[in-house]
């Protein structure tokens, strides 16, 4: 179900009306309306996929209960134990059982995700994509997102972070809450549990803020990302020896803008939709292009995936005895700094390799993940060397100028990574890097674009430019700690209305000049 459609608007209005009516007249049970709406949404997006989400929800819910039962059994057994040694043995025994249950949950759920997401790609590597082994299943909507959310829930239950949800229907709502199904964010159970089930009354101020967020998302998605799509395709889809590096750099820069506009715009829209129900979903972006290092970028971009990886992969990995032993070895042989960062570096490389695989099983995603992991690991490892260099060159790393330099440096590093992300064919990728370096050829820039014409090129670029200026201004304000939404809502009516009119005009114009209203780049994850 497309967010930008009458179907979704009618669905949303009906859900909101039912939600607040139930809240007002029944006083409780609003979450049931959300559950029905979420199931309805998922059904409308392809009823066959209901099986997958129900399977994931059911298995992880049961595992949460089983882990809790094992905790209880362990406690009871230990209470009856004769001595400390027996208690310790019992604890270890139950811990092992819990671990096996957790492992089973992880294997089953990641196997389902792996099958629908990677099986055909794997067969492609083996040259068997046209055999009977090939899966005809389409990727169920949001499966990566809800699988990660469910697995996070199970791991948190395993770690005793919170008691498991005993009501399956309530848990199913957490997994299937419709605004998060399209492209995330990857919400956490403890962040959502109270909000999803508590009573919410209609609040005009909240609704205005939510609508503003939706409008901002529409602007980013349609007036920036979508209008650039054809220009990017024409710049990057037919790379050969003659494609000037200048065109490739241009295409990659636009792709960087498109990615942000599409993904963060979509997230703004779904967060706004959720906010209409009074439910705040996790934020996924914090002005990522103002990051001063690649590590900082990943703390600002797709935040919920980053924190998921940090909590459930990086930390457990970094404290593995084998890696701690490696740290000790590093300290002894390579110095204190290396020893301290060695496990973190390995953890980063592994995490980003997984992030790459999360995007897809294709080689270019793996390379993209490795690129990010290796650059972050190397910058960690070489931090003392950089600090020394700054001292030698008398660079004031606290100055505004250095901050701007760091932002631009990070932006360049991110853009290099986009080559891996955008160019799926390894040959094209190598050729693109080669042409960028040895055949930049700015003189042929315009000729090439004329040979690969884009309808309404100037209008698309102008629209995206104005959109970027608006996004930049809002981002600067947010970076300075200003609540841009609140400021706009408090602005004089003529100014506000002018802004609303501008957003409406820009979104409409985007469809006039090139936007197709296609899906989101992250919708197929």
């Amino acid at each position: 179900m497309s967010l930008y459609s009458l179907q979704f608007v009618l669905f949303l209005l009906a859900a909101l009306a039912a939600y607040f009516a139930v809240g007002r007249f029944a006083g409780r049970g609003q979450w049931v309306v959300l559950l029905v709406a979420s199931m309805g949404f998922y059904f409308a997006c392809g009823w066959q996929n209901l099986f997958f989400i129900l399977f994931t929800a059911l298995t992880t819910w049961l595992v949460g209960l089983a882990l809790s039962r094992l905790d209880q059994a362990s406690k009871e057994a230990r209470d009856q134990a004769a001595d400390r040694a027996q208690k310790k043995a019992l604890k270890a025994q139950f811990q092992r059982r819990k671990w096996l249950v957790l492992l089973a949950a992880l294997v089953v759920n990641f196997a389902v995700l792996g099958y629908v997401k990677y099986w055909n790609t794997l067969l492609g590597f083996l040259g068997a994509q046209d055999t009977f082994l090939a899966s005809k299943l389409l990727l169920p909507l949001g499966i990566s997102f809800y699988t990660f959310m469910s697995v996070g829930y199970v791991i948190d239950c395993y770690n005793g972070k919170f008691p498991p949800e005993r009501n399956f229907a309530r848990y199913l709502l957490f997994v299937s809450y419709f605004p998060q199904l399209i492209q995330g964010p990857i919400n956490r159970f403890d962040d959502m549990v109270t909000q999803l089930y508590e009573r919410h009354s209609f609040d005009m101020q909240n609704a205005r803020s939510a609508l503003l967020l939706i409008g901002f998302g529409l602007l980013k998605k349609y007036a920036i990302a979508d209008v650039l799509a054809s220009i990017i395709s024409n710049s990057l889809d037919t790379i050969d020896t003659g494609t000037p590096g200048s065109v490739i750099v241009f295409g990659i820069l636009l792709y960087t803008i498109q990615q942000y506009g599409d993904f963060s715009g979509g997230i703004d829209m779904v967060r706004g939709v959720s906010q209409l129900f009074g439910i705040q979903m996790a934020d996924n972006f914090r002005q990522p292009y103002f990051a001063t290092s690649l590590a900082d970028f990943w703390r600002r971009w797709h935040i919920t995936l980053g924190t998921w990886m940090r909590d459930y992969v990086f930390y457990p990995l970094a404290v593995r005895p084998s890696l701690l032993k490696l740290n000790k070895w590093g300290t002894a042989h390579l110095g204190k700094h290396v020893g301290r960062t060695l496990s973190a570096c390995i953890g980063n490389v592994v995490v980003f390799l997984l992030v790459g695989l999360w995007h897809g099983a294709e080689v270019h995603y793996v390379l993209w993940g490795l690129y990010n992991g290796v650059v972050i690991a190397a910058s960690d490892m070489l931090r003392p060397a950089f600090a020394g260099l700054s001292r030698v060159l008398h660079v004031n790393v606290d100055s505004a100028g250095y901050r701007v330099f760091a932002i631009l440096r990070t932006f360049a590093l991110v853009n290099v990574g986009r080559y891996f992300d955008r160019l799926a064919d390894s040959g094209d990728l190598m050729l693109a890097f080669k042409n960028t370096i040895v055949n930049f050829n700015p003189g042929s820039f315009m000729s090439y674009l004329h040979m690969h014409p884009t309808t309404n090129f100037t209008a698309c670029m102008a629209l995206a430019f104005v959109g970027c200026i608006i996004v930049f201004c809002v981002s600067v304000a947010r970076e300075r700690g200003v609540d841009a939404n609140a400021r706009i809502l408090a602005a004089p009516a003529p100014l506000r209305f002018a802004l609303y009119g501008l957003v409406m005009a820009m979104v409409g114009l985007s469809f006039s000049v090139g936007a197709t209203g296609g899906g989101f780049l992250y919708a197929n994850f």
Binding site: M1, S2, Y4, S5, L6, Q7, V9, L10, M204, T238, D240, T241, G242, T243, P244, N439, N441, G443, S444, S447, Y448, H450, M451, N456, T458, A459, F497, Y500, G501, M504, A505, G508, L509, F511, S512, V513, A515, T516, G517
Partner: protein
């Protein structure tokens, strides 16, 4: 001092009043955008405005721009003895054609509908119904709000238009229907709306060279230049061999609806430039076979005028004014031919004999229609693959030249192979040209294509 109940009332009405003000404001912005961007004198506006002036009709012609260019009702009526109106509009979908037929039936009780079936209409799967299309928006202005709402509801809810972005954009009419996104065109559009320019004049200003012939038909006097980029194709990258499910269902629905009302539905394929037919000939034939099978199954006669024999209609290359449309001369020939065909058909004659089979058609083309080129750069130079479109009996020779001052320098002599590799001295751009002629011909060339290569 206001009383507490007055304060309470004020409080409860305040949000509604604010919402109302916001809606009024957005409506005004929408109206202003429509005024600025909705083109004055669009082809759909002409068609619907002129339609309201028709007093009597027995035949309606529907389809996309190819039919709007192709069928001149004055010429057709004379040949067929009919009173017709051409309701074709650019990018008209089958749903819109159906709405057109229904409107003409309800208004005039028409007895015949001529429906144009182009590869675009039948094959393109992106044909999601657009409740805010130009055709429907302009129709809404002449049929009244109730009828417009009924049609909107039909397209939106019955035909699945509710799922796409157009389901919202239909409330912003300037999104689907707008002048080219250039400031001078927008200003000109506003000016024409304000200074009393007639709708007919405006339509010719919007598209210089396009002439409104009346009763819905419009086309050009100019002739397609087969050696320039004007000679392009819509189907270069698309697989046009299949009929999309939505179009098939719609065609069957139209056929059944017409049968129930005793309307003689005739489906027609309008001629395209020869290179466009030959360029994807196998796919084209598969598509035509499928269209013919669906029509036959639905009880509709289908005639593909690309395959028409010269006895009924001559289609010389200069019949076309651009890459897809017949010019005025071609339109006159087509309108006469279609009129004659229907007269013969009404008499019960075997009119199928007036059409070639696909193989006969290909053999009947004794010339090169045009040449296209595919260009790519590799380490050893610029790779050029020329595609010349000619009949099955025609052998083609190729030559590659490079721009040299004001002239062209041969860099690869005449050869049978359409492939060339040319290595420029250094990276940069070079201007090249492929010449083609029938093998053994003494002509310097018959067709050519110039292009820039970046190496």
């Amino acid at each position: 001092m206001p009383t507490s109940s007055a304060t309470c009332t004020k409080r409860s009405f305040a949000p509604a009043a604010k919402l109302l003000v916001a809606l009024v404001f957005l409506t005004l912005v929408n109206a202003a955008m429509s005024f600025a961007f909705e083109p004055y004198g669009s082809k759909s506006q002409l068609v619907w405005t002129d339609y309201t002036a028709q007093e009597q009709l027995d035949t309606v012609v529907v389809g996309s721009s190819v039919m709007q260019h192709a069928l001149n009702p004055d010429v057709f009526d004379e040949a067929a003895g009919a009173v017709s109106y051409n309701m074709s509009t650019p990018m008209q979908t089958l749903i819109e054609s159906f709405v057109g037929i229904r409107t003409a039936y309800e208004d005039h009780g028409i007895t015949r509908a001529v429906l144009s079936l182009t590869p675009e209409v039948m094959n393109w799967t992106t044909d999601r119904p657009n409740p805010g299309s130009v055709f429907l928006t302009q129709r809404a202005k002449v049929v009244g709000p109730l009828e417009a709402a009924k049609t909107w509801s039909y397209v939106t809810f019955d035909k699945g238009g509710v799922t796409g972005p157009n389901s919202l954009n239909c409330f912003l009419p300037w999104v689907s229907n707008h002048t080219p996104a250039k400031p001078n065109r927008v200003l000109k559009n506003i000016k024409m709306k304000l200074d009393g320019t007639s709708m007919y004049k405006a339509s010719e200003v919007n598209e210089p060279g396009w002439i409104y012939r009346g009763r819905g038909c419009g086309n050009r006097d100019s002739v397609l230049d087969y050696d320039s980029d004007e000679a392009r194709t819509n189907f270069d990258r698309a697989d046009i061999s299949k009929v999309n499910v939505r179009s098939e269902a719609m065609l069957r629905e139209i056929a059944a609806w017409c049968q129930e009302r005793g309307i003689d539905l005739v489906a027609v394929g309008v001629p395209m430039p020869v290179y466009d037919v030959l360029g994807r000939f196998d796919q084209y034939c598969k598509l035509q076979d499928r269209i013919a099978a669906i029509c036959s199954d639905a009880g509709v006669d289908y005639y593909d005028f690309n395959l028409v024999r010269p006895e009924l209609m001559q289609i010389p290359p200069e019949s076309f004014c651009d890459y897809a449309h017949l010019g005025n001369q071609g339109s006159i020939a087509f309108s006469q031919a279609l009129g004659r065909l229907l007269v013969e058909r009404d008499k019960g004659e075997d009119v199928r004999a007036l059409f070639f089979s696909p193989d006969e058609y290909r053999a009947s083309i004794g010339y090169i229609s045009a040449v296209f080129v595919d260009v790519g750069s590799q380490a050893d130079g610029v790779h050029v693959h020329a595609r010349a479109f000619a009949g099955s009996q025609v052998k083609v020779s190729y030559q590659l030249c490079e721009k040299d001052g004001d002239g062209w320098r041969e860099v690869a002599t005449w050869q049978d192979s359409p492939d060339f590799v040319y290595a420029p001295a250094s990276h940069g751009t070079c201007k090249l040209r492929v010449n083609v002629r029938v093998a053994g011909s003494s002509e310097p060339f018959e067709h050519y294509r110039e292009f820039t290569a970046v190496y």
